[in-house]
């Protein structure tokens, strides 16, 4: 029974979560695109000569945060850069996507990137318990950050704490690569048949939490990933 649940989580649920997430994002973006444009300009001055590149740079580098709350900015930049590296690191697990040496047992960043991301999420979560942020936060803010924290923490256990055992990596980059490759090619193979060891349950937990996150994403404020640039463009005219 447990094996069957693990299989459902690591294979069919991944497909459902990814499809759900992609359709959800598309619907959300389409709904905004279908709405009428605002009847007048929303820019603030001084205006920019090149509003589009400026909006892209503004969305990526968050200059207003740097100016007004440098500590928060450092954590935001670490978090966003870390997530970008982690996306690459997950792709790099695929046997045919080689950024790190093919025979390396490590993910890109040797697990450190995930730890940085986890620390940043913890900071985002803890600051919400302090006033005045506590007064403007809603339960969804805490739960989303908690879910993200759990995803990151379980990922850390796989990619970093995994190497703490005496015999080195219990599960290696190649093990995860085989699993991801199977998913990518719709082999429907049970990863438990190729990935073994005591840490498999951590992998299942990580995948389950990541599935949940993907399913929640289109309904959450993480959608700012797709709207940060158009929003910044409005301010720039």
């Amino acid at each position: 029974m447990v094996n069957q649940i693990f299989y459902v989580i690591t294979v069919p649920m991944v497909y459902v979560a990814v499809a759900w997430c992609l359709v959800g994002i598309a619907v959300k973006v389409a709904r905004v695109a279908k709405a009428p444009a605002h009847p007048f300009t929303l820019k603030v001055f001084p205006d920019k000569d090149h509003p589009v590149p400026s909006a892209v740079w503004g969305a990526l580098s968050m200059p207003t945060v740097r100016r007004h709350n440098p500590t928060f900015w450092v954590f935001l930049i670490l978090f966003h850069l870390g997530v970008a590296v982690l996306i690459l690191a997950h792709l790099d697990l695929l046997p045919w996507f080689n950024i790190y040496p093919e025979d390396s047992p490590h993910m890109i960043g040797n697990g450190a990137v995930g730890v940085v991301v986890t620390a940043a999420i913890l900071y985002f979560l803890l600051r919400r318990f302090a006033s005045p942020l506590r007064e403007i936060s809603v339960p969804a803010d805490y739960l989303l950050l908690f879910l993200l924290f759990c995803v990151a923490m379980s990922g850390d256990i796989i990619s970093w704490a995994n190497s703490w055992s005496e015999n080195g990596f219990v599960l290696t980059k190649q093990d995860f690569g085989g699993y991801l490759d199977g998913l990518f090619h719709f082999s429907w193979a049970d990863p438990a048949e190729t990935i073994d060891g005591g840490h498999y349950v951590v992998l299942v937990t990580h995948v389950f939490l990541a599935n949940l996150f993907l399913m929640v994403l289109p309904f959450s404020k993480i959608m700012h990933t797709f709207f940060a640039i158009p929003l910044n463009k409005l301010r720039r005219g």
Binding site: H38, F40, T64, V65, I136, V138, P139, D141
Partner: protein
Amino acid sequence: MDAKLKQELIQTFSERLSQAAKMYLENCSRCGLCIEACHAYASSPETRYTAVGRAQNIRRIYEEYFKKGKIAKKLNEAVELSDHWMEKVYETAYTCTGCRRCMTYCPFGIDTGVIQGIAKMLLITANMEPKTLTMLADMSIAKGKTIEKTKANFAIAAKNLEKEVLERWRSEGGEEVVPLDVQDADGLYVALAGKHSIIPAAAIMNAAKEKWSLSYFEAVNFGAFVGNPAKTNEIAGRIIEEAKRLNIKEVVICECGTAYRVMKHMSGEKPFKVITFAELIARYVEQGRIKLDKSKLPGKVTYHDPCQIARQGGIYEQPRYVLNQLTDHFVEMTPNRQANWCCGGGGGLVAMGEKDFRMKSAKVKADQVKATGAEVLCTACENCHTQLSDLNEHYGLGVKVEYLSDLTAKALVQD
């Protein structure tokens, strides 16, 4: 609240959901950065008066009626429309000055003005908006409809101002001192109701030998203050029609920030340019069409950037250029330009009275003025002028609050 009204409010809300509004309502991460941006919070730390605090009152209604999922609604603290909730909406909507300083803090640039625009429309639909503002807006509209009947009286009133204008600047022989209905004029000057808004401007334009005409309509747009787009457009439309009829090149808005923003940025494409009076003065000085005497303005002078012409209009340098021609003792406020603190009187607050709240919420502005050590506090917006004068009295700042136009007119060199 009855079901019919609730339905009408949901309909009103849905009609206000532009692309921008949807993005603003769905993407705020409640990071709290905007909290520090609001002068009301900086003066009296209550989160309900912050941009995010105000927006949450609307965002929570949005969660209830425009988002799906029972659990998501609970987690996002969705609320149903009720009389009690509408009172909360009122409290935060009509205490926001629309200064949009929070936009310069928000990493996404969320415009509180757009969200409070929804709030104000909901209150109008519920017949809960401040009646003073609606009444003033309706009076402006009514005046537009009966203008032909009142033109003769207006001409007499304009004629009565001539003496005071001539005291500031003698007109060229044979020319009208306060001209009306001038076809093909270079500038249509749109003043406020009150001679203080006409006399210095007339003196300056006459000194510059401008071909100008005084508008029959007052510039102020109470439709914008109350938050009613239809009334806003109707009030602005009277001036637009007048400018078209006279084939005007440039509409010059007097020292009224909201009137400028509405005419320049919120009224669509127009066959004429729109400028502030501060820009026109700067142009005259730059072109040598007027000369100013620096001895007329003794003491340290500082300048308050009115939000609606500065942050919302980009008019930062022209008033400073003029002031530097009027004095050698100009000092900046800190912060200034885009980061300047709002005076706390915008968004209709001055027109509504609300003196206790205005004084309490603008302490940070009073402190900012005090820190300059200036004796003269200059601005280029009537709303700001009234609020700054009240702050001056309330906090004992000991400054003289002056209009840029008035300082300029008093310093005109008679050649």
